[in-house]
Each structure stands twice: as C-alpha cells, then as structure tokens.
C-alpha cells in the first residue's frame, strides 16, 4: 500500500466498482488534501444521486490516476476547498447538482444556476429556479473603486458569460466570472445512456473541441465494453485530434494578432484556419469532425488514397501557416503587447490546477499525450511544448510550438496511413460492463478533457461526468487580469480562449 489510500488506475481503464475500496469520509478528504499537497492534481471530484463522492487525482509523473470514493451518511460534508483550492468549483458543482452542502466552503455560490437534480434538496434552500449570474459578487470597497459589468451578450460572435470587474481607474483589482448561460443539461441527458443521442451529446460538449470530447467518450465506451480499437483506427483518430489542434491554434494566433491590431496575421490566419478545418471535412464531411469517430473505431476511414491526397494539401496549409505566424515574432509592436499582458505565475497555476496550453505557458510541462498516453501517442510520442513567462506571449508561443509538433505528427501519420490498408467498419459495441467505472483523459487543443462514467446493474450510465479544460482554467483568466488594465481584457481572455459551453455543459 502506497502512501495514498486511493487505487491506482490508468486512463481508459474500466473496473468493477467493487474493486475500488470505499474510503471513510475522513480518509477520503485526507487523501485528496495530502495528494494535492504532494503535487498530485485533483482532476475530477463529483457526486452521484446515491450520495457517493468520487475523486480522481492525477499522478502525472507515475503516468497513473488514483481513484477513491466514499458514501455520505447525510447531504453534507466538511469542505475541502479551504485546504485545496482546486476543489473550489467541484464542490460548488456538487452542491448545485445534488444539493450536497460542502460545509465551510469560503466562496459558496452556484456555478451554473440551475435547479437541483435531487428533488426537494437544495444546497441554498431555494424554492424557486435560480436566475443566471444573480449572486453576491466579490466587491472591493473604497470611494475611488468602481465596478464594470459585462455580458452575458458580448460585442462579437462569442458565447455568453458575465464578467464583473472591480476597478481602480483603469486597473483591474479583481475579476469574477459568472457562467451557466450555456447550460443545456448534457450530463443529466447522458444518464440512462448510452443511447442514440449520447454520441451527439459528446460531440456537442464544446463544438470547437468535438474530436477531443468524442474520442474521450469513445474510450469510455470501449473501456466498459472491453473492446480494443485497431491501431490503424487509433492513428486516424490521432490525425483527427491534431487537425483540430492545428485549426484552433491557428485561429487563436490570428485572433490574438487581431486583438493587438496586427492585421496581416489576423487576416491570413482567419483564412488558413479554414484550410485546416477543410482537411477534416475532406475525411468526414464536417469541418468540426462530426461523425468521424465512432465507439469501437471510425465513422469515416482515412483510406490510403485519401491520405495521399491530403499530404500536398497539408503541405500548402502548413507553408501558409508558417508564413503568417512567423510574422508575429518579428513585429515589435506585437511582442510588446504580448509580453506585457496577462501574467499568471507558476505557483498560482499549480495551486489552482491549470491545465493545457495555459499551464504549459507557466512552465508546467503537463500533457495527457505524454503523461497518460494512449492510442497513437504510445508508439508516436509527442514532445511537450512549454514556455516560462506565463503571460500572453507564452500562451501564444506554446501554441506555435504545438503547431510545429502537431504538424510533425500529422506528416508521419499521413505518410504511414498512405501505406496501410484501412480497417473494416467497427462491429456494433457489445453491452457495457454493469456496476463498473471507467475514466479517460484526452489532451484536446485547450487541454485536458476528462470523462468518467459509472454504470448501473444493467450496464447503463448512472453517472456521466465531463470535465472540460475550461472548468479548470476560467479562474486562470481572473488571475491573469489582476493588476492589468481593463482594456487588456480581450487579449487576456483570447490568450486562454476557453469554452463557455464546455464549462456550462
């Protein structure tokens, strides 16, 4: 028995619930607090309808996860947040979904503003439906302090969210973000599944990260059904995921250029992003990769002939991408703005549990593809890109490094696929293991996507938990704004480019 009471498992592994020993509430809390104190990350913490609490810690250095659970005797437990900031949003979510009270939570308010799923049990004792973003915001006192409220409807083609700034003159002292406007009930809809809508729900957790979420969902189903996906199909899935990363990173770098008024890169990248999306569409007909992946394998194969056709198209898109983005690093006006804005330091980033591009920009070399590899990333490892400064420049630079690395992966994959005959269409999936649990992680373009499923005695989902990287990272945007001018909000926000719908579910 190691010093952590939780059971070690790996991403994609399914196991009977009875194999995971129940912890006492006290041991459960201690394991989380001690684990996070020792540098493990709290990647999932959730409840279910039977008053069970589940927690998953990532022990990245050992390439494994640790899972534990406890059953509450009543609908409350002593909050972990005062000892572990990473539990903050998770505990608010547990309270909102199941009316379970984390006693002593220091910032206890709703996070998505929906009614409790547990009938007659509301953590705030409310009897009417909550209104979005109606809560006590953190405020700063003083005659010269003013408050700026923005959203939910913003001045652009962008998702809804409410931002409350506490300002002294131009300087932002604090930003509090209230989301939930996109809440459409995805986790609740998945309970009782999988059914014919479940795949569509996985695809629409966050449309710009369709592949990241669908692949994670597929691995949950494949884990629970005990199905192995042919390695060629996994390679094609890797192509899908990296194409998604290319399109979004190119789009983000263009948008960042736009936010500092550097129009050449902004206009070039707007178009080039489309070239990457169209490569995805060439395989599956959809620019966002809808229906490309299917539990058990692929909905659309990337046949050798198609791989051959895509190679020259990719070479062209890559040449344009390099040309457009390299302009950024030579433009003093861009560098000046990028380097001066949106700093988050490494200690803060670790404390709040940042993931993905935002974490790597703070010098934290964290990447599911390397730390918890699966599929093509086992035989074709990627190098983790990172930067040190934690500012807008670092987040832009990490994206660029990742473009280079993903392009290398794609080139190798397409050249390999051009020689390998396709797999037959996957047979229908056998039924899922009953009373089991499966957890899977994928490194989407924003960062770590986690899904966890628990099945009932019939093999149906009794709980399906989704953690989008945005869930971890929104607090990072708030920290990045501290001490910044409010006019730098757009560039700080864009440098994270988080998903509202992925957070709101």
């Amino acid at each position: 028995m190691s010093k952590y009471a939780f059971l070690p498992i790996v991403s994609g592994q399914s196991l009977p619930l009875s194999d995971i020993q129940e912890s006492s509430l006290e041991d459960f809390r201690k394991a989380i607090i001690q684990g996070v104190h020792d540098g493990l990350r709290l990647v999932c913490f959730c409840a279910d309808a039977e008053l069970r609490l589940f927690a998953i810690l990532a022990e990245d250095a050992a390439k494994q996860l640790r899972i534990g659970w406890t059953k509450l005797a009543q609908a409350s437990f002593p909050s972990i947040t005062p000892h572990c900031v990473q539990a903050n949003l998770f505990e608010r979510e547990i309270a909102e979904q199941f009316g379970i009270l984390p006693q002593g939570h220091p910032w206890f308010k709703p996070m998505r503003f929906h009614a409790s799923w547990a009938e007659g049990r509301d953590a705030w004792g409310r009897t009417t439906s909550p209104s979005p973003a109606v809560m006590d915001f953190f405020t700063v006192g003083g005659e010269e302090v003013h408050e700026v409220a923005v959203g939910p409807v913003h001045a652009g083609v962008i998702e809804p969210g409410h931002f409350r700034f506490q300002c002294h003159g131009e300087t932002v002292l604090h930003l509090e973000i209230a989301l939930g406007f996109q809440h459409r009930g995805i986790e609740r809809a998945l309970v009782g599944g999988p059914n014919i809508l479940s795949l569509k729900h996985a695809e629409t957790v966050s449309g710009d990260a369709t592949i990241a979420h669908v692949w994670t969902y597929c691995r949950i189903l494949e884990g629970l059904a005990g199905v192995r996906v042919p390695s060629r199909s996994e390679w094609v899935r890797g192509v899908a995921l990296e194409l998604e990363r290319m399109a979004n990173h190119v789009g983000d770098l263009g948008a960042l250029a736009g936010d500092v008024g550097f129009l050449p890169t902004a206009s070039f990248c707007g178009r080039i992003r489309g070239d990457w999306l169209n490569l995805t569409a060439a395989v599956c007909g959809s620019r966002l990769g809808r229906d490309w992946l299917k539990p058990g394998g692929l909905g659309f194969d990337l046949e050798p002939d198609l791989a051959k056709q895509l190679l020259p198209r990719m070479a062209k898109a890559w040449a344009d991408t390099r040309d457009a983005i390299e302009l950024l690093w030579g433009a003093a006006s861009v560098m000046n703005r990028f380097e001066a804005a949106g700093h988050v330091d490494e200690a803060q980033a670790r404390e709040i549990g940042l993931v993905g591009v935002a974490a790597r920009a703070c010098g934290i070399a964290l990447d599911v593809r390397k730390d918890h590899p699966s599929g093509p990333y086992i035989d074709h490892p990627i190098e983790v890109s990172h930067a040190e400064s934690g500012n807008v420049h670092s987040r832009a630079w990490v994206r660029w490094l990742e473009l280079v690395e993903s392009h290398r992966f794609l080139l190798e994959a397409l050249e390999g696929l051009a020689l390998a005959p396709g797999d037959p269409a996957p047979p229908p999936l056998p039924s899922l293991a009953p009373s089991s649990l499966c957890v899977a992680l994928t490194e989407g373009w924003r960062g770590e996507v986690l899904h966890m499923a628990v099945t009932d005695s019939e093999g149906r989902f009794s709980r399906y938990k989704i953690v989008d990287p945005s869930f971890h990272n929104w607090f990072g945007v708030a920290l990045a704004m501290r001490g910044e001018q409010i006019s730098d909000f757009p560039i700080c926000n864009k440098s994270f480019n988080l998903s509202y719908c992925g957070h709101d579910l």
Partner: protein, 265 residues
C-alpha cells in the same frame, strides 16, 4: 515591414469569387438529403407499406424522420446531417447530396420529401428590401448550443468569404443592428438576455435562426434546460439548417433573403 509585404505577396488574393462561381466543397459533405421514394421498401418492396420498414426513423437521433404514407419525410430543422439514416437504409432510399442550399423562410418548408420540390428562402418583400437590401447589420446572440455554429458564422467575416462586400456585417450593439442572428437552442438561462437584446433592436427587425439547435433544440431537444429554439422566444424570418451549417449554407441563406441570388445560384 518588408516581411509583411512579402507575406502579403505569398499569401495572395484569397477571397472566393462566389456567388459568381461556387467554391469547391468537400466531397463527403452531407448537404441536402434526397429521398427516392421509388427505392423505399415501404413503397416498392415486396413487403410494401403495411409491414412498415422503420429503420431510418429508428436510427435518427433527433426524430427528424417521419413516415408519410410509408415514405420518409426528413425535417431539416431537426436533422443533424449525421450519416445514420443513409447508412441503415438497405435499398438506399435516402441519400445525402452535396447540395448546400438549405435556408427557408418558413419552418414547414424545411421538410424534405420524395418528389416534392424544396422551397428555398424567398427574398424580403419590397419595403423591407428597400430598408435592408443594401445594408444589413446583425447582432449575433449565442444562446446555448456548442459554439459550433458560431465557428462557421464567424468564418464569414474572414477574407475568404468577406461578408462585408455584400453589405452584411455583425455589429457590437443591438442598437446598431437591423436584426438578430441566433445560434443555440435558447437555454432557460439565456431567455431573458435574448428577449432584452431583441427588444433593444429598432423596428423593423429581422431574426435569423442558424443551426439545428436554434431551429428545434438540436441534440438537446429533449432537455428541459432549453426552450427548443429561437422561435420559442422571438419570431423567426429565416431558418438555416445544419449541425453546424457549412459557411456557404449560411451565406446562401443571407444572400437569398436579400434577393442577391438568382434562381440559378
């Protein structure tokens, strides 16, 4: 500076000549489905109508297909353009064509049947055309959904599509807008914000619903957290189906509404 100019030369002029000619679309694009009634087992098969083959109806994730006298009728307002119905039909009565033109003015016009002609969106009437025909400013409201439609709505502003050359642009305030472009099923949490935004637009005003969510709730149609589309809150003038619609489908709808496309385009 010289690098920027050289890049500009290398990147070249990239705005597509549409509507003069159509851009190349992905070969596997699932555009407007076509129902070939003569191939439907319920109509022509040995065990015609009464036994009732229901395969396409059963695999559709959003109940977009109904049988009308045995033959499938597909509601594009609900359709997610997934390949399931096409794949499951043994005689191949349903086939996705590469046809990108999908926008319609009436909800009922979004239904595809064998034999019947699809009623594409008609242009605005003369008075509205006088007001909006040369300049249409839209406020985009994302009201639930997955941000997929926003991706392809946004794309129209890039140099590839250059929406501005048609006199259409997205504006930052509803006070500056002539209409609303809505994505998403309208979540309960966005209802009030959507209503307020709509009310803030001066009349006369237009509403455009983009994507399956904004038309019917899309994949979330069963959820009580959403209202089943834009029409549940505001009157809709143009429906653009898809999940998400291809940018060309969205642009086609907008131009059709403004009478900028002939019958042949």
């Amino acid at each position: 500076m010289i690098h920027i100019l050289l890049s500009r030369l290398r990147q070249g002029h990239r705005t597509i000549p549409y509507p003069g000619s159509l851009p190349a679309l992905p070969e596997r694009l699932r555009g407007r489905p076509i129902v070939d009634v003569s191939k439907c087992a319920n109509i022509s098969g040995a065990n015609a109508i009464k036994d009732g083959c229901q395969l396409c109806v059963e695999v559709c994730p959003t109940e977009a297909i109904n049988l009308r006298e045995g033959a499938p009728q597909i509601d594009l307002g609900r359709c997610l353009f997934c390949p399931e119905c096409e794949a499951v039909c043994p005689p191949g009565a349903i086939h996705y064509s590469g046809e990108h033109r999908l926008a319609a003015r009436n909800r009922e016009d979004l239904k595809v049947e064998g034999g019947a002609e699809y009623r594409l969106a008609k242009a605005l009437d003369a008075e509205l055309m006088r007001v909006f025909g040369r300049s249409l400013k839209l406020r985009v409201v994302s009201a639930g959904g997955c941000n997929g439609c926003e991706v392809d709505v946004n794309v129209l502003q890039t140099i590839t599509w250059d929406l501005g050359r048609f006199g259409i642009s997205y504006v930052a305030s509803p006070r500056h807008a002539d209409g609303l472009l809505i994505c998403g099923p309208v979540t309960v949490n966005m209802e009030e914000a959507l209503r307020i935004t709509y009310d803030a637009i001066p009349a006369p005003k237009l509403v455009i619903a983009v994507g399956a969510c904004a038309i019917s709730g899309g994949p979330f149609y069963k959820q009580s957290e959403q209202l089943g589309g834009a029409a549940s809150v505001v009157p809709v003038d143009l429906f653009i189906p898809g999940c998400p619609p291809h940018p060309l489908t969205i642009l086609d709808g907008l131009l059709r509404l403004l009478g900028k496309l002939g019958t042949s385009a």
